[in-house]
Amino acid sequence: MSSEHHDPANITNPEHADHHIVGPKTYAIIFVTLLTFTGITVAAAFVDLGILNPIIALAIASTKAVIVILFFMHVFYQSKLIKLTVASGFFTFLVLITMTLSDYMSRAWGLW
């Protein structure tokens, strides 16, 4: 019956993707990982790495965020539709940041 209604344009495949129940063990590993990264980011703040300090801080925060999204929020196990939705949110956020930033940076070459 499904072949009658097959829609080649429907690339997001939302059907029957959401049955995986994530268990406490997975959550515990993620929990410990998040706390570890928190410790690392605090420690890194006390070391002078010059320009790398903010980069490392943001990289660690982004990694933590990605782990929360993938596992605490189940996106790893969800349909392509959900994954695309999350991606589009961050894409739009990045457009806001980078294009506005490009205006400010181009008015102040060398100061950024």
Binding site: H5, V22, V42, F46, V47, H74, T85, Y104
Partner: protein, 253 residues
């Protein structure tokens, strides 16, 4: 079976029990469709939250660059132990919330209620610590406005051991810019705290419903979708913490 629009078929009877839950809405064909629609809808709402906080994050990015010395000095006024503890508390609350979703999915009512309560308590601890931090700012006259006191930034206290100021002293006009940091600090953490308060109120309501057994018979969508909201608020803090507290803590630079 991909791409078929959800309609109940007998071929699936063995895989899922198509028992009509009392919460099934008539305009959906199946439970699955309703649950997926709910999750999708919650994610779209979270996208609006990303863009909402995004404006604040950009303002922060801009002014941190324009007034970097002021931001460094002001950031060092925030307490790392309190901030770290709060980060740990929020991560724990996320852990408890995730476990709560699991408990609902495996239909363990008692565990679900316990995890919801633990999540709520963690949230309250977080807010308590924040209140304490805000109070300290009030006492030190670091709330932006007419009573803002820049003296600590112009003449930082001397470290008794090294006989050097604990911070680089700032010129008065740069010292005034610490108000920009604190404005953004209060705006961003305040907006975050507002979202936490809303979340805690919702948690109270959900806990009460969970205690009545509403979520331990297969209907998990509200717990699941609230969990998404709660984790998102957690993610906002995951970024706020290093950006606000950890700008530059290297001694002597």
């Amino acid at each position: 079976m991909d791409n078929a629009i959800a309609v109940a078929h007998d071929t699936h009877a063995e895989e899922h029990h198509h028992v009509a839950l009392p919460q099934h809405r008539h305009h959906f064909e199946t439970e699955q469709q309703q649950r997926e629609a709910g999750t999708f809808g919650m994610w779209l709402f979270l996208l609006t939250e990303i863009m909402f906080f995004g404006g604040l994050f950009f303002a922060y990015l801009l002014y941190r660059n324009w007034y970097n010395p002021a931001f460094v000095a002001a950031s060092n006024q925030l307490s790392i132990p309190l901030g770290t503890v709060n980060t740990g508390v929020l991560i724990s609350s996320g852990f408890f919330m995730a476990l709560g979703v699991w408990a609902a999915e495996v239909r363990k009512k008692g565990l679900l209620v316990i995890f919801l309560i633990l999540t709520t308590l963690s949230g309250l601890v977080f807010l308590g610590v924040k209140y304490f931090e805000y109070k300290e700012k009030w006492e030190k006259h670091h709330i932006p406005g007419a009573n803002f006191d820049i003296s600590e930034f112009v003449n930082p206290p001397i470290n008794p051991k090294t006989h050097k100021p604990i911070e680089q002293p700032l010129a008065p006009d740069m010292a005034q810019k610490t108000q920009v940091f604190f404005s953004l600090y209060f705006a961003m953490t305040g907006m975050h705290a507002l979202h936490m308060i809303i979340g805690i109120v919702l948690l109270g309501w959900l806990t009460w419903r969970a205690q009545k057994g509403e979520f331990s018979s297969g209907y998990v969508a509200p717990i699941e979708n609230f969990g998404l909201y709660w984790h998102f608020v957690d993610i906002v803090w995951i970024f706020l913490f290093p950006l606000l507290y950890l700008i530059n803590r290297h001694p002597g630079s």
